[in-house]
């Protein structure tokens, strides 16, 4: 391959990634030459602008055809575009939060925070638009490695140190398990290109290979479910959420989780959906009960343990575990509208989670505490923020009129339209949702009915107000008019180009 052929590819479709990479590199250089005692907030603004520009360039590519560079090591299809949009919106909101994060203990490495954040985002974005196991894996590692350091950046905090170490160790074990599973997939097909793998596996059916192929499937899936924090591989989540700074936690629970679902869909669905299996149409359908079991366990464990938490961050950690379970229900039921349902749920989850973390950040920073009692009397102190928090919690609980309800509804219906319907899974979903009301409503009780302990006024920085307003609008608007979001997906025709 000479230089001419290399130039003949349409590198323009990688524009959003190039912008993020460029901004990350520029930030690291500016940080190096900036006087040491100058505030690093400017770098944060620069990073925010970079993410915004990248989002605009993504919108410019929104209607372009499927483009593939260098044998699918990079491909821009409708799946890539729609999930990249989620990642960029989530990151932009988290960056706004990070601008106003001023913890009691001074964090010396603010500049580093911003460019490690961008490289993590870059890894996640590469995963969305990759049709090759190698790019997928390197994207995953780029995201994981950056997140380990983002957690550990709070060096003086004992809990953060413990959390970072746990995160690194469990994360590396998960990576090893994923790679072991992938190595069998590569061994069978001799290719790392997902399309070729799917084609190879679809054309050759061999009884002897079924067993080891399903083992490869399970190993890969188990490894990847660490990233989703799905039970029983969720043990790192509560500790990491408690130890890390609030912006990092909202990044992990929204952007990193979305990226986890992206790689699961890319690897699991595209490789195994067409593989013939002995008893049913495809291997994915034969193995769907395992995913269903994991989904059920995740919902039950996440929601019941959350009941016992007094620390709000730990509670939100278990709630995020439970939400991963709801999304896994969509994956297990494999309905026609699986992609739309997952995309919409993650969008709704993005708004409600980041909104809740924004309010938590200000309140917990004010009290230097994370116990649920810090919300006591919030309604008296800042009524508007208490109402906003109510909206986010109602949406997380899935009450009608909010985006969370529509998202859950889609997944719930998806479990019924398939043959045979997943009655058990759907009923677990309903019961655990009702259980989740208890701990979400515990915060309401604090906000509205507990007396005010502190009369200090809370300071709401402009960036946090902007995040809360955007998230409230997103949550309510998508709850009342969900079609606004679906209109964005209209040019994609139900992700029909996923495997082309």
């Amino acid at each position: 391959m000479d230089f001419e052929t290399l130039l003949s590819y349409e590198w323009g479709v990688m524009m959003p990634e190039f912008i993020i990479l460029g901004v990350a590199v520029a930030l690291s250089l500016i940080d190096l030459f900036m006087p040491e005692n100058r505030s690093r907030r400017l770098l944060g603004l620069f990073a925010f602008v970079g993410v915004a520009v990248s989002f605009v360039s993504l919108l410019g590519l929104w209607t372009s055809d499927v483009t593939s560079i260098l044998g699918d090591t990079f491909r821009l299809d409708s799946f890539a575009k729609s999930f990249k949009a989620l990642l960029l919106i989530g990151s932009a909101l988290v960056l706004l939060l990070a601008l106003h994060y001023e913890p009691k203990e001074r964090i010396a490495y603010r500049g580093e925070f911003y460019y490690l954040f961008l490289t993590a985002l870059l890894g996640a974005m590469m995963m969305t638009s990759s049709g090759d196991l190698i790019t997928l894996f390197i994207g995953l590692e780029l995201l994981s490695l950056s997140s380990y350091i983002l957690v550990a950046i709070r060096k003086k905090h004992t809990l953060a140190n413990e959390a970072a170490l746990k995160y690194v160790i469990t994360g590396s074990i998960a990576t090893a398990i994923t790679l072991f599973g992938m190595s069998y997939i590569f061994g069978f097909t001799g290719s790392t290109n997902i399309k070729e793998i799917a084609g190879q596996l679809a054309s050759t059916y061999d009884e002897n290979h079924q067993y080891i192929l399903s083992l490869a499937f399970l190993l890969t899936f188990v490894g990847l479910s660490f990233k989703l924090a799905a039970a029983p591989f969720h043990m790192w989540a509560p500790d990491v959420y408690q130890g890390a700074t609030t912006p990092v936690v909202s990044f992990l629970s929204v952007v990193s989780k979305t990226a986890g679902f992206v790689i699961v869909l890319r690897v699991i669905v595209s490789v195994f959906a067409q593989t013939p299996s002995g008893s049913s149409a495809s291997m994915l359908m034969t193995l769907a009960p395992y995913i269903a079991f994991l989904a059920g366990a995740t919902m039950i464990i996440g929601n019941t343990i959350a009941l016992r938490q007094r620390n709000v961050k730990r509670m939100l950690a278990y709630s995020s575990v439970a939400h991963a379970g709801y999304v896994l229900v969509a994956l297990a039921s494999l309905s026609m509208f699986m992609f739309e349902a997952i995309w919409f749920y993650l969008l709704a989850y993005l708004f409600m989670t980041i909104g809740a973390f924004a309010i938590l950040q200000v309140v917990s920073q004010h009290h230097d505490d994370e116990d649920v009692s810090i919300f006591a009397g919030l309604y008296r102190r800042s009524p508007l923020m208490a109402i906003a928090m109510t909206i986010f919690l109602l949406s997380l609980a899935g009450i009608p009129g909010t985006a969370g309800f529509i998202g859950k509804m889609n997944i719930f219906l998806g479990a019924f339209v398939v043959e045979p319907a997943h009655y058990v899974l759907a009923s677990i979903m309903v019961v655990t949702t009702v259980v989740s009301y208890v701990y979400y409503f515990g915060i309401f009780v604090q906000m509205f009915f507990r007396p005010v302990e502190h009369t200090h006024r809370l300071e709401w920085p402009p960036g946090v107000i902007a995040v809360v307003v955007i998230c409230v609008i997103g949550t309510v608007l998508l709850g009342v008019f969900p079609n606004i979001a679906y209109d964005f997906l209209a040019p994609f025709e139900h992700f029909s180009d996923f495997l082309q």
Partner: protein, 169 residues
């Protein structure tokens, strides 16, 4: 039983033994030596698979560079050599049970496994083939890997750097 088969078994045994010794030894320097055995025997397995270039890289980077860096790390940091026993016997028994079960499950799978015809011509122009693949078809993941290394470097600096106040003391 061919010679290749025997060589594989010997190398695999050394690799596994190195790993097990690494976990069970108490002195850090001994652990590094055990690890070197694992690294070198894995390089041997690469040679058996006609991947001479990867084998050379394995020896250079893992047995050479990484081991030396580990030794530097051990010399430059404080550490206690006292061996602490971890976990209760019950937990150990469960871990053993889990490992044996996993090994059995995988063994059933690979016992009669046949990956079809073996690839031919793996050893001609080994290095050239790898070079061409990396710098043409896989140039995007290659560049991404360089970003990954940059992140690791920055991360290591952040975590290891002493803050100004401490450095002044």
């Amino acid at each position: 039983m061919s010679g290749q088969y025997i060589a594989f078994f010997v190398l695999a045994l050394i690799a596994l033994g190195g790993g097990i010794f690494m976990l069970n030894l108490n002195k850090v320097v001994h652990m590094v030596v055990a690890l070197v055995f694992t690294f070198v025997s894995i390089a041997g397995i690469y040679v058996l698979l006609s991947a001479e270039f990867v084998a050379a890289v394995q020896v250079l980077i893992y047995s050479g560079a990484i081991t030396i860096i580990m030794l530097f790390g051990i010399m430059l940091t404080r550490h206690q050599d006292d061996g602490q026993s971890t976990g209760s016997p019950l937990r150990k028994a469960f871990a053993l049970l889990g490992t044996v079960a996993f090994g059995a499950v995988m063994y059933i799978g690979i016992r009669t496994l046949d990956f079809g015809s073996e690839a031919v011509g793996l050893h001609d122009k080994n290095t050239e083939q790898i070079g061409i693949a990396i710098y043409s078809k896989y140039v995007i993941p290659f560049e991404l890997a360089s970003v990954l290394l940059l992140v690791a470097l920055i991360g290591a600096v952040i975590l290891a750097k002493k803050d100004d106040k401490e450095a002044g003391e």
